[in-house]
């Protein structure tokens, strides 16, 4: 086997049983790796009746097939489970330095089931892996635990750590890698916490990867690295971070403000954009393994009420979710709120979105001081957000902390079903900080049909719709108008396949922007020997997408769950998209038709599933239906 090792660690935390699962080459070829392979293993290993936070639930982490290759944007991995936030398939990806070390240690991933009797860590070193009691780490923030682990296991060890939010089962708790990179979405940190696993630690290994075509891989790295580095988007990301064009997004109406009630605020744009962050608070840039883009921010706020020591800085999603969405233009406050989310192990998107919903509900009188435990919620009140709300969510403290730790959909539902209409989520996953009403109507479709819920990275629609990429070699040469539905379902068909490939091969969606589709497939073939034609790769992408839809069907989700809330579809009230309606129903029906999906069940027809080799899976889901 090339690239991949064919070995996955299996750990049952309840029994202490550990083993190595060996996987056939065909499984890799059919499901690529990363998110796709994790979904396949989830299908094989999951108890579909298990509560996401129960002992029976599984958490699966799988490397991309390119993890460990010294090429920008390829050393990444995906985590998959059932989400405690949505009840649907959870998936999230992460870069950093953990994935290549896992590969060098000889493994492609880790399957975790059961529950440790005491707080523990999983320790991987020198050909062995085991569960080690670590009660002293429980209760510590991510940063505190990180320092302790480094002291014990060495400076070069790599970590996945949860914070207090994961320990308390907050439904949008995340997992931090080396206290900076995150499996941010869907509450995977809560699942790790429910298993009493505080951290996964890997010590450095020196194994050399075997490539299918050694010389070709070397020449591709040599050819692609300077191109990735010099690409305009890479330069912008390096200099200004992923928030580098927040101001530009604002003018197009892409940035949701004050819980999606506004799409334009010039002052906010200037004060929060990435160039302001660079000028005022950036101390240096950070990066993931082998990446020349270096989009990560290291920031320090020297003085004032929001002073923070040098450490991880906010990315675009965090700036928009904890700034624009809450009605704040205070960048120092956003840096501090983002840092708190890191330390507590909270997804900053869901945190910001859930607080924003609560602020609006309080303003409308739908949420009262009785619900909040006497706390007054006001737009832009960052002292309360930082000192009270975020810590109380992370620890599920008090009525407000308990309420908001459920996420916006369940929080709204627990007060009054009618309040769901002004949440901004799909399937319960809070939408990222790109408003389809201004960013592009195809985003609306992408959010709705994404298996994990509202997501702009599960497909390539975000970049395809806005002209950031073209793939003529697979027939995508459309010059799309962002604020119409024209050709969006057709684009979405390709976008699902490309997104599945990106998330399964674990290409970073920044670093791979300058690559053609043929080059993406070429590097996969050269490293892993998959022998994909372009069509084979697309088919693998669609196979993975359909499998994830089948998983969701087994969790009870149907086509009617591919929905956006009223707030996300009402005409924008200001800015560039003011008054424009999205033809959501038209797009989604056409998409089902083009994908041969049943528009009630929300999964592909039997014939389509057979076409992608999912006969057994089809039999289970369609037989159950009858």
């Amino acid at each position: 086997m090339y690239g991949n090792t064919g070995k996955v660690i299996y750990i049952n935390c309840s029994t202490g049983k550990t083993e190595i699962v060996s996987l056939d080459e065909d499984v890799y070829k059919n499901f690529i790796g990363g998110s796709g392979l994790a979904a396949k293993l989830f299908w094989d290993y999951a108890d579909f009746d298990a509560d996401p936070l129960s002992e029976k639930a599984v958490l699966i982490l799988i490397n991309g097939p390119l993890a460990g290759v010294p090429l920008s944007g390829t050393s990444r991995m995906s985590a998959v489970a059932r989400s405690p936030l949505t009840g649907a398939l959870a998936e999230s990806s992460c870069g950093g330095y953990f994935p290549p070390q896992l590969r060098y240690a000889g493994y492609d991933g880790i399957i975790i089931s059961g529950k440790c009797t005491v707080p523990s860590i999983i320790h991987i070193a020198h050909g062995s892996f085991n569960i080690v009691s670590s009660e002293e780490l429980w209760g510590k923030t991510v940063g505190e635990a990180y320092v302790k682990i480094k002291e014990q296991y060495g400076e070069r060890s790599r970590t996945l750590i949860i914070g207090p939010a994961g320990e308390h089962g907050v439904s949008y708790a995340c997992i931090l890698s080396d206290a900076h990179h995150a499996f941010g979405r869907c509450g995977l940190g809560a699942i790790m916490g429910s298993k009493n696993i505080k951290a996964i630690v890997i010590e450095p290994h020196k194994t050399i990867m075997k490539y299918f075509e050694e010389q070709k891989v070397k020449s591709l790295i040599k050819e692609l690295t300077p191109r990735i580095k010099e690409y305009i988007i890479s330069q912008v990301l390096h200099e200004f971070g992923s928030a580098g064009n927040l101001e530009g997004h604002m003018y197009t109406g892409d940035v949701p403000i004050k819980n999606w009630t506004s799409n334009f605020n010039e002052e906010m744009a200037e004060k929060l954009t990435g160039s302001t962050l660079t000028e005022k608070y950036l101390t240096k840039t950070g990066t993931c393994a082998y990446c020349v883009v270096a989009c990560k921010r290291i920031v320090k706020v020297d003085e004032g009420p929001y002073s923070i020591p040098e450490g991880p800085g906010p990315e675009y999603e965090t700036v928009a979710a904890l700034g624009c969405l809450l009605g704040s233009s205070d960048l120092a406050a956003v840096c501090k709120a983002g840092r708190l989310c890191n330390e507590f192990g909270l997804d900053s998107i869901s945190t910001g979105a859930t607080i924003a919903w609560a602020m609006e509900a309080f303003e409308k009188g739908d949420l009262t001081e009785k619900d909040t435990g006497g706390i007054t919620l006001r737009w832009g009140d960052m002292p309360t957000v930082i000192d009270t709300i975020i810590p109380s969510i992370a620890r599920k403290e008090g009525p407000l902390g308990q309420l908001l730790s459920k996420g916006s959909r369940l929080a709204a539902k627990s007060i009054n079903n009618n309040l769901i209409k002004y949440t901004a989520q799909s399937k319960g996953l809070e939408a990222p900080m790109h408003d389809p009403r201004g960013g592009g109507h195809g985003h609306a479709l992408a959010y709705a049909v994404s298996p994990r819920g509202a997501c702009h990275v599960s497909t390539a629609m975000h970049f395809m719709e806005t002209g950031a990429c073209n793939y003529p070699e697979i027939g995508f040469e459309f010059d799309l108008e962002a604020l119409t539905d024209e050709k969006k379902p057709e684009t979405m068909v390709l976008a699902t396949a490309i997104g599945s490939i990106e998330n399964s091969a674990c290409f970073c969606q920044y670093a791979d922007r300058s690559l053609t589709f043929a080059e993406m497939v070429g590097i996969l073939n050269a490293v892993s020997g998959y022998h994909y034609s372009l069509q084979d790769a697309l088919d693998a992408g669609w196979r993975i997408y359909h499998l994830k839809r089948l998983i969701n069907h087994r969790f009870g989700l149907r086509a009617c769950d591919d929905a956006l809330t009223e707030r996300m579809l009402e005409p924008a009230r200001d800015g560039e998209p003011q008054g424009i309606m999205i033809n959501f129903d038209g797009m989604i029906q056409r998409f089902y038709e083009l994908m041969n999906m049943d528009n009630v069940e929300g999964v592909a027809t039997v014939d389509t599933l057979h076409k992608y080799g999912l006969e057994q899976e089809a039999a289970i889901v369609w037989k159950k239906r009858k």
């Binding site: 305009i232 988007i233 580098g244 003018y251 197009t252 806005t466 560039e576």
Partner: protein, 78 residues
Amino acid sequence: MEKKKIGITVEGAGVLRKELFKHTVTLDCDARVEDLAKKIKIKKGLQIAFFRNGKRLNRNVKLHDGDTIKVVPLVFGG
């Protein structure tokens, strides 16, 4: 006869803030957005859009003396 001139204030947004400081561009009185686009120099490969009072302008829209135009880079992601 030489055409009358108009003054347009131009300002870069987002990643163009450093590259395109606020300044005035002089154009012919019948100038359109397209003419302004030819006058400004920005990073090669960067797609841009023009906004006036928060509204995006088509390239054939006529400009007026005293207009303030934001030049917005269309870099997507984040």
